[in-house]
């Protein structure tokens, strides 16, 4: 497995086209996007609704495949991987933070965060507990470990989601509009937390937003419009 150190490309996308087929109509979501993301970056993808932000994050997150073009994640060409390999890549290399938090409602805060470690089957119970407690302390939820998601506020839930995304020490964390369902103060806190994790854990963060305030925290910004990159440091707009 290729190793990335800070400053090297951990995500490399070349001429990616993504089209959706709605009955007989072809809807283009990405029109030839090329993009490189350096390890340790805190990158924001911005653009209006329908610009292709979520599609781009889905492709980087290996939950969707490009119609054409190349997506390299940590040196792996996602097109050459089968479902099992993609699942393992998501488990070991990527972390996800969703707009609607997407926690498992029947599990406690601790169990939600521990879950990816259980899927990895690499650690003992004690090691898992240590890692989960450490992260929950960092996100300020060490007093809520036994609560269920329904007993938490939106901001607290998103903190749990951040802890869950980071628990496996992934190289990349993808966040699709992580502050969209939060008030501005809580949203600001969440971005601060992500930034802090980016600094402490050296994790690459790629997040989408259309909030200028949130965007201002990013080291790099990619602007998308109509499925094309229109502006961005280290990024190239598509040819189509």
């Amino acid at each position: 497995m290729p190793k990335n150190t800070e400053g090297q490309d951990i995500v490399s996308i070349q001429n990616v086209i993504k089209e959706y087929h709605l009955d007989k109509v072809v809807v283009p979501a990405l029109r030839g996007v090329s993009l490189s993301v350096e390890a340790g970056d805190f990158l924001s993808i911005v653009g209006p609704s329908g610009s292709g932000k979520t599609t781009l994050l889905n492709l980087i997150g290996c939950v969707d495949v490009a119609t054409s073009g190349t997506v390299l994640i940590d040196g792996h060409d996602t097109k050459s991987l089968n479902d099992r390999q993609l699942t393992d890549l998501r488990l070991n290399t990527l972390g996800f933070i969703f707009q609607s938090f997407n926690l498992v409602p029947v599990l406690s805060v601790f169990q939600n965060v521990e879950f990816p470690l259980l899927l990895q089957r690499k650690f003992t119970k004690e090691e898992r507990a240590k890692r989960v407690d450490e992260l929950l302390e960092k996100v300020g939820l060490d007093k809520h470990t036994q609560h269920r998601p329904s007993e938490l506020s939106g901001g607290q839930r998103q903190r749990v989601a951040i802890a869950r995304a980071l628990v496996t020490r992934p190289k990349i964390v993808l966040a699709d509009e992580p502050t969209a369902n939060l008030d501005s103060v809580t949203g600001e806190n969440i971005i601060d937390l992500m930034k802090e994790m980016n600094r402490v854990e050296k994790t690459t963060f790629i997040f989408s937003t259309h909030d200028a305030k949130v965007m201002s925290h990013a080291n790099s910004v990619i602007r998308l419009a109509d499925g094309k990159i229109t502006d961005g440091k280290g990024a190239k707009a598509g040819a189509h």
Binding site: V63, V104, F115
Partner: protein
């Protein structure tokens, strides 16, 4: 896996009403299955106890004795020699006893009835005192010649009680009408169908009635330590008897009496022995068990189909409700088979809990009804083989039923679970609803 179990269990709890409805249906079917199973086991137990007391041993060696080609008598001549062969051949023999077999008219002052007679030697009948429950009289008097033991319903029909006199009247195999006076030494509690037409008489008195000698009996009853070996033991004994020079009739699963007409049509004269097992001897009534088991199977199958549809629907709803959760779990690295297992476990948990509740309920119901000693109407006693409704808990059968129902619930959940596992993560994550 424990986390998947936890998710499955908590999801069942969180959808309490739906789980309760489906679990209740599963529990209902299990209750019915267990209840009918207990009834079947109870009837079987009664049937076995009754048959092994009145009509048969675990195995029997009977004899057809034909002086003329057209008529046979149920006799085994020189039966002690046969007993020796049995003792040498069967390693798991418990004990062996000779019983005379006969058919005569039993006449009282006010009524008469046709009865089957079992001629017993009480010194060699260790089971009878343990099993027969006397309403009146003394069982030990059956050891004395000139006494007869009858059953409750016979006493009622003949309008006699212990100490009263009766007369046996029979047309012997020698073609002579013979009668013997006897005294009722005891009236025993009824034990179902077989005790409606069977009485016990000392062997000596039966010999006198049938005008046969001491070395002749009706059948040799064999009691074994291990009933599971009966089929092998039947074959073993048939070979041993043939090897000792006896003619043995072809193996058939019919009762000794049922084969008599066929034997009468055959051309030979002399003696042929017949080796039967207890279930051969009561094969003409075991259809009762098959009927109860068949009814259980039919009812359970129909209800299981209904439950299967319910489980499938319920899982489809659960999967639809939790599509985004499936997408999230797939995104964070859960493999397809684990998603499938997660939903299968839900149905499995529901099956285990539902069947456990049903088994407890069914067993409890059977035990209560058993303790109530509910009387069975006379017409139905033929089927139940008992004057009261009897249920017996058979743990293997109950666990088997639970396992089958749980297995069906689990298997049926594979279809929706497989579909859930095949969902594309991107489609599942973006699901709205």
């Amino acid at each position: 896996m424990s986390q998947l179990f936890l998710i499955a269990f908590r999801n069942l709890v969180s959808h309490g009403r739906r789980s309760l409805f489906l679990g209740g249906a599963i529990a209902g079917v299990t209750t019915l299955l267990v209840f009918l199973g207990c009834l079947s086991s109870g009837v079987k137990q009664t049937m076995l106890e009754s048959a092994l007391t009145v009509a048969t041993g675990d195995m029997n060696v009977g004899g057809y004795y034909k002086v003329t080609a057209g008529q046979s008598a149920p006799l085994v001549t020189d039966y002690k020699k046969v007993q020796e062969i049995i003792q040498k051949t069967l390693p798991d023999l418990d004990f062996v006893t000779a019983r005379g077999r006969g058919w005569a008219r039993l006449v009282s002052d006010q009524a008469s009835m046709q009865v089957g007679i079992a001629g017993v030697d009480m010194a060699h009948e260790p089971r009878l005192p343990q099993v027969l429950k006397l309403k009146e009289g003394n069982l030990q008097d059956l050891a004395k010649p000139g006494n007869v033991l009858i059953f409750e319903n016979q006493a009622k029909k003949l309008k006699v009680k212990a100490g009263d006199s009766l007369v046996f009247s029979v047309l012997t195999d020698r073609g002579v009408n013979n009668t013997v006076d006897v005294k009722v030494c005891g009236v025993a509690e009824d034990m179902g169908l077989l005790t409606t037409f069977n009485v016990f008489l000392p062997q000596e008195t039966l010999n006198k009635l049938d005008q046969t000698n001491e070395s002749t009996t009706g059948a040799v009853l064999i009691y074994l330590k291990n009933r599971r070996r009966i089929p092998q033991d039947v074959d073993l004994l048939r070979k041993a008897l043939t090897g000792a020079g006896y003619n043995v009739v072809d193996r058939s699963s019919k009762a000794f009496w049922m084969k008599m007409q066929e034997v009468n049509k055959e051309e030979w004269t002399g003696q042929k022995l017949d080796v039967t097992s207890w279930d051969d001897e009561i094969s003409y009534v075991t259809w009762t068990l098959s009927a109860i088991d068949g009814l259980s199977f039919l009812l359970t199958t129909v209800l299981l189909v209904i439950i299967a549809v319910g489980i499938m629907n319920s899982l489809w709803i659960a999967i639809r409700e939790r599509t985004r959760e499936i997408g999230t779990l797939r995104a964070i690295g859960m493999r397809r088979w684990r998603v499938m297992v997660m939903f299968v476990l839900e149905a499995f948990c529901l099956g285990v809990l539902g069947t456990a509740a049903g088994a407890v309920l069914g067993s409890f119901l059977a035990l209560i009804l058993n303790a109530m000693h509910l009387p069975v109407p006379a017409g139905i006693q033929f089927f139940t083989m008992s004057t009261t409704l009897k249920f017996a808990l058979d743990p293997a059968r109950i666990l088997g039923g639970m396992a089958i129902i749980t297995f069906c619930c689990t298997v049926i959940s594979l279809i929706p679970s497989f579909k859930a596992a095949r969902m594309r993560p991107v489609t599942a994550i973006s699901h709205v609803g």
